[in-house]
Subunit: 339 residues, 4 copies
Amino acid sequence: MKQGVSEDVVLHLTEAIRSWGLTPHVSRGQERTVIGIIGDEDLVRGKPLEVFPGVESVMSVVKPYRMASLASKPERPPVEVPAPAGGPPIRFGGDKIVVIAGPCSVENREMLFSLAQRVKAAGGDILRAGAFKPRTSPYSFQGLGVKGLGYLAEVRRETGLPIITEVMDTRDVEMVAEVADIVQVGARNMQNFNLLKVIGRCGKPVLLKRGMSNTIEELLMSAEYVLNEGNDRVILCERGIRTFEKATRNTLDLSAVPVLKKETHLPVIVDPSHGTGYWDLVPPMARAAVAAGADGVLVEIHETPEEALSDGAQALLPDTFDALMRQLRKIAEAIGRRA
Amino acid sequence: MKQGVSEDVVLHLTEAIRSWGLTPHVSRGQERTVIGIIGDEDLVRGKPLEVFPGVESVMSVVKPYRMASLASKPERPPVEVPAPAGGPPIRFGGDKIVVIAGPCSVENREMLFSLAQRVKAAGGDILRAGAFKPRTSPYSFQGLGVKGLGYLAEVRRETGLPIITEVMDTRDVEMVAEVADIVQVGARNMQNFNLLKVIGRCGKPVLLKRGMSNTIEELLMSAEYVLNEGNDRVILCERGIRTFEKATRNTLDLSAVPVLKKETHLPVIVDPSHGTGYWDLVPPMARAAVAAGADGVLVEIHETPEEALSDGAQALLPDTFDALMRQLRKIAEAIGRRA
Amino acid sequence: MKQGVSEDVVLHLTEAIRSWGLTPHVSRGQERTVIGIIGDEDLVRGKPLEVFPGVESVMSVVKPYRMASLASKPERPPVEVPAPAGGPPIRFGGDKIVVIAGPCSVENREMLFSLAQRVKAAGGDILRAGAFKPRTSPYSFQGLGVKGLGYLAEVRRETGLPIITEVMDTRDVEMVAEVADIVQVGARNMQNFNLLKVIGRCGKPVLLKRGMSNTIEELLMSAEYVLNEGNDRVILCERGIRTFEKATRNTLDLSAVPVLKKETHLPVIVDPSHGTGYWDLVPPMARAAVAAGADGVLVEIHETPEEALSDGAQALLPDTFDALMRQLRKIAEAIGRRA
Amino acid sequence: MKQGVSEDVVLHLTEAIRSWGLTPHVSRGQERTVIGIIGDEDLVRGKPLEVFPGVESVMSVVKPYRMASLASKPERPPVEVPAPAGGPPIRFGGDKIVVIAGPCSVENREMLFSLAQRVKAAGGDILRAGAFKPRTSPYSFQGLGVKGLGYLAEVRRETGLPIITEVMDTRDVEMVAEVADIVQVGARNMQNFNLLKVIGRCGKPVLLKRGMSNTIEELLMSAEYVLNEGNDRVILCERGIRTFEKATRNTLDLSAVPVLKKETHLPVIVDPSHGTGYWDLVPPMARAAVAAGADGVLVEIHETPEEALSDGAQALLPDTFDALMRQLRKIAEAIGRRA
C-alpha cells in the first residue's frame, strides 16, 4: 500500500478480498503496510488490485503456470516422437542431444530430398523445412504451401526421417498434423492463442518457439495453453530475442536454457540459425547451446545458399554441418551426454 | 565488400547480379569496394547477397513498402468510416481528432450499453470493446466471443456509434466484419500474415496495432499486406513497445507518430491505455499524442474498474474521460485541429 | 519461498533476519510461504536474501530513494536558478515552461554569440552548449574544452543568459561550476557515481540526464547521490532510451514525465533533440513533452547545421526554433501553464 | 537521396563533398539516386550529411575503428600479463582459457586471502576483487577504497596471483595501476571517455567491460580510445546487456564472442556472474562461453554468500568453483584448447 494509507482504505480492500472467497493477511511495517492474499490462485487471477485506492503495487508470489512447472513433473519425462519407420522413438530431454536440420523453406522436391540425405548421413535426427512461411513482406516468397507439404510427406516416407514443419493458420492445423511428426509454432505465433488451442488438440508433439519479444514466463504460459488442451508433448525452443544490438539478427538468449531447466519439466532446444542470422555464427552458438544444457539444436542448411529463396545468409553448407555434428558430439561428451 | 577483396570475387558477384536481370555498379574507394545494384527491386528482393564470398554487409536504399509509402499518395487522403446511422462519415486523418473509447472487454450487455452512452455523451466518435480477447494465461477470462459480438451489434443499432472490435482468427473474420465498422488487428497479431491477408479482403476498414516488438518499418510492411489485398482503408496505431523499463506496461513510442507522418499517407492514432498500463498516465499521454500530431486516440474506460474482467488498472472512469475530452479539445485547438 | 520448503529452512532465514535487528513475519498460503521483513530498511539493504536456502525470489516493497521521493517534499518546491544579471530567478517546476536552447558544441566564439542572441530574442530562458563533449569515436571533435568554457563565460556576461554545460570528469567539476549556472551530467555519466558525489558538493544546480539504458528508478537513485551530498537543486531530464527501434536515434520515453511526477518532487524536462536525433521530429516531440506535463524542454539549434561539428542532423534552424516557441506557448496555455 | 530529388540538390551535395577534399560518386537507379563518397574517412567523419537537402539516409561502409580491427593485426597476438612472481606470463588469446575469479568486493583482509588461496588451489589464473564499487544506491556499501587496494597488494605479494581490480575515477588511475596487474573498466564506465584516455596511458593491461546498453561496435570504439593512447593490451569482456527479459539480471549476449572474433584481434572473455545474476546459472553459462570460443571467463566466488556485502546472489561457493574448473577443462579440450 502507499505510504500513510488510512485504516478505511485498508478495510475497503480487505473486505473485497474476503468477498472473493480469499483471506487477507495484513503486515504493518514502519513505513509500509503489506496485504498478503491467501487462498486459491484462480480466485484472485485477473482481479484488478492495482485500481483499489491506496494500492501502490501488486506482486505475485505464485507462478502463473502449473502444468508447465517443474513441480508438476519433477521427474522431467522426455518428450517422445515416434520414428516414422518404426524402431525406437526420438526422445527430447534424455541423454542424447537431438539434432534437427534442413532448409528454411521447401523450395522444390529435389533440394528437399538431397538435403534430407545429407541430414541423415551426418547423423541428424529430424528434418525441418517450411511449407508455409511467415514473411515480413507480402512480395517475398511465401512458401510452396500444400505442394510443399506433399514433398515433406514423400521425403518422410522415403528416408524415414521424422518431419518438423510450421503451421501458421488454425485452418491448416489438421492438414499439417497429418504430415508432420512435430508441429512447429513459429516465434511470431507464440501468442496466437487460438492457434495454440487448436494445436493442443491435434495429437502431435509441438515445437513452441519463443517470440522475439516474449519473456521466458510468457513462453511457459503459451506452453500452458497447449498442455491445457491435453497435449503434453511440448518442446520449447529459444531462438533469439529482439534487443538494441544489430550485429546479429536477434540476440540469442542462451541463459534461457538453464532458467527453463529450473522452471519446467519440458525439454528445451536452441535455434542458432535464427538466433544469430549468420551462418558463421551458427557452429559456435550451437556448441554453446549444448554446453549450456540444451536438449537439442535446430539448424538451417542449404546446398547453394546463394540461391536460397529465404534466409540464405544463415544456412550452413552440408559439409559445415557435418563438421558441426562432430563438434557437438565432443561437447556433448564433455558434459556427460551424447549427440 | 570486405577489405582487400580480389577481382575474381567481385566478378563472381557482378555476374550473379547480371544473371538476375539487374545492373551492378562498382565503386572502388581507398579502403573499400562498394557494389550498387540498379534495377527493379522485385528482382533483388530476397536474394541472399550476404552469402556471396567477399560481401561484408548489404544495405537497402529502397524502402520495402510501396502502397503504404507517402510517395504513393502524397495528398494523404483520410480513411473514411461510414456512420452506422447515416450522416457524415468519421474521417481519420482530417482536421478532427478521432476519439475511440470503450471497455477493454464486452463483459455483459448492461455495462456495454451504459459505457456506450457515456462515450456518446462525452463526444467520443467510436465505441471499442473486445469480444475475442488474447490473454497471456489460458486461465484468464477469454472474452464473451460470439455472444459479445451480438451485444456489439445491438449497441451499434441502438446508439448509432460505429464499433471497433478485434479479430484473432482467420475463421472469425467474416463474422466479425459483419458487425464491426472497423476490424482491429491486435498487437500480438501484427505479423499474423494469414490473418492480414483475409482481413485485406473483408471489405471493412482496419485498425492495425503495432506489435510490441515490431519496428515502424515492419508495421508498414504489415499494412502493405492489407493494402496489397485491395483494402486501402488502413489506420495505424502506436500502442507501446517492449523495452527494459518496467515503470510502465509498455514504452509508448510517441515519436512513431511524426516518423509515420514522414513515411506514409495512412492515418496514425495512439492507444495510451495499453501504451502505459495505468489509468493516471492515460490523460497526459493522450494529450501528448494529440500534440505530437496523432489523428486520434483510443482509450479504455470502465464504470467500476475494481470489477473489470480485464485490464482494469488502465481504464478511465467515465468522469475522467469527460475531463480528458475537454483537455483534448484544447490541445487540438492549440495545433490548429479540433477534437 | 520455494514450494514445499521445510520448517528448518524457514527457521534458518527467520533467525538470520532477527540477527540483523529486523522482524520476520511469516505468512503460510496454500501453495507458498511468504516471509515479510519489518524494520529499518537500512538494515536489510544489500543483504543477499536470494542465496538463503529455500528462497525463490525477493521483492522490495519500499522504494530505494528517500530524498528524491515525492513523500519527502509533497509541496514540490521549484528548483531556482539565479539570473546572472540579477532579477527574478529561473524556476523549474513552476507555472512557466523553461526553454533551454543552444548549439550542441561551442564551436567558436562567433557562432556561440550569434546563437545566444537568437535564443534570447525568441524568448528562450537558458543557453546550452558543450565545451567538453563525450564522443563515441576518439577521432571525432572532442569539444573546445577550457577555451569553450571561456567563451561561455563571456557570452553569459554579455547576454545575461544563464548557462548550462556538461562536465564529464571529476577533475573538471570545480572549473565548470565556476562558469555554469547549471552543471549538466550527461546520459553516459548518469551512473558515474564519483562524478555525482563531486557535483553534489559543487554548489550549483544540476541537470541530470537519464542514461540511455537506465530505468526511471535508477535515475532517481542517481539524483539521490547528488541530494545526499547536500545539493537539493536537481533537475531531471528524459532524453530517450535505447530500444530495438532504429527509425529514431533513441526512443523518447515521454511516459517518464508523468511517472516521475508521481514519484518525485524534482522538476522534469525533456530533450527531444537527443531523444529523436532528427530536427524535423523535434517540434512535434517538444510540443508533446509540454502536453505531457514536462517543466521544460532542451533543444539544439544551429545556424548552419550542414557545417556543425557535432549532431547537425538534430539541430533546429533559428527560424524553426522561433516557430516552435510560438507553438509551445499555445500548448502551455492549453494546459494552464505558460512558456 | 529522397525519391524525385532534383539535379540542383544533388549538385549542392556533390559540391560540398568536393569542398571537403573527397570524391562524390553518383549512381542513378530507377527509383533512387545514391551518392558514394570516396576518400580519406577522417575527412568525412562527423560531417552532418543527413541535414543536406534531399538526403534520405546516410550509410557508412567503413568500420569506425581501425586499431581494434582484425585487419590491423590479423595474426591476433595474445595480450600478455606478466606474472607477479616471475615465470611465464598469463596470455589472453592463446590456447589456454584464462580463469579469473574472486569476490565481488574486498570485504576484509581475511576473506580476500582465503578466497585467493581457493582460486590458486583450483587452478585459477587471476584474482579479481573490487576496492572501488559502483553502486546504484548511495546507501549501499561503496567498497573499502584505498584500504582495499592495500589488501590487494598484500595478497598479490603473498600468493603471486596477478590482480584485476576496477577503477572508476580519473583521479584514481595512477594509484590503482600501481597495484593492479590488469586495470578494469566497468560496464557503467565503458563510455567514460576521459577515464579511457587516462587508462590508455597508465602502462597496464586493461579489461574493458561492455556497457549494459552498448553495441559491440561501441565496445570496439571504446577499445579504440585506449589503443589510440598507445596501450595495446586491451581485453574485451561480455557481461550481459539490458533487455526486456527479467528472469536474469542481464541478458548474456554470448553471440558477441564469435562476432568479436570476426571483427577484432583483441581477446574476448565472458563474465557469467554479472551476465546472469544468479549463481546456479553461472556454471552452464561459463561452459557455454568457452564452447562459443571465449578466451577466458571471470566468475565471482564467496565463502559465505549469505553474508556478502555485494552481489552475494551471483557468487559461487569455492567447491562449486572447483567443480566448474573441472568442467571447463573438459569443454576446452573438446574444442582443442585447455583451461
